[in-house]
């Protein structure tokens, strides 16, 4: 079966990015396909490569990156949510005249159309967070 995942909450204020990660991992282990993972609202903070969580804490960005690399996952960050929170890729940093970008490898910035498509293409869209 084909799943799409939507995450709405930030990694240090809500459990949703962890629950979504565990669900995605279990779905892949069961042989299901993950069509897309869409990071919305504060969940875009998962996609920064500049966060340095304590060493004894789970590194949620790294966990998603590793899973994405292993299973060729499409990790999409909402562009409007990302820009509000200062999360930029190289092209956006240039376009907005900013001096740096901070998106982690394995994530890409795109629009809400990607979420709609994820809902259409997948058999199930599951929303994590509030």
């Amino acid at each position: 079966m084909k799943f799409s995942i939507q995450i709405n909450e930030g990694p240090y204020q809500h459990q949703s990015s962890d629950t979504a990660y565990q669900f995605t991992k279990a779905a892949l282990e069961a042989g299901h396909e993950i069509f897309r993972v869409f990071f919305y609202h504060d969940a875009v903070n998962v996609a920064t490569r500049l966060a340095i969580p304590p060493q004894d804490d789970r590194n949620i960005t790294k966990l998603w990156q590793e899973l994405a690399e292993q299973h060729k996952l499409d990790l999409v960050v909402c562009i409007a949510a990302a820009q509000r929170r200062g999360l930029l890729d190289e092209a956006e940093a240039k376009r907005q005249g900013k001096d740096a970008n901070n998106i982690a490898t394995g994530f890409r910035i795109s629009g809400l159309g990607q979420l709609i498509e994820a809902g259409i293409q997948a058999d199930r869209l599951i929303v994590f967070g509030d």
Partner: protein, 102 residues
Amino acid sequence: MSMLHLVNKSPFEKNSLKVAISCALNKSAILMIEDGVYGAVSDAKHSDMVKTAMNKSDFYVLKEDTQARGIDESKIIDGIQLVDYAGFVELSTKYDKIQSWV
């Protein structure tokens, strides 16, 4: 159409469990995750509401989230089934739609 209702809020914090129960149709299921697992605790003020709703819907609770909150299996209302993440995935395939309550 069958639906899986996800409840991630404690009934002590919000009324999402109550709302999910009131919206759940026959043949639907309610899965409690994250702080929602407090809804599965027996002898609490909401336990009777859950027990009554169990006549209509199947109830599940995510085992990892009960363990993370120190809720022993013996404290969970009889008839609520514990599932792990693999079980969560399986439930998601079994029901046509998944509704996350907030």
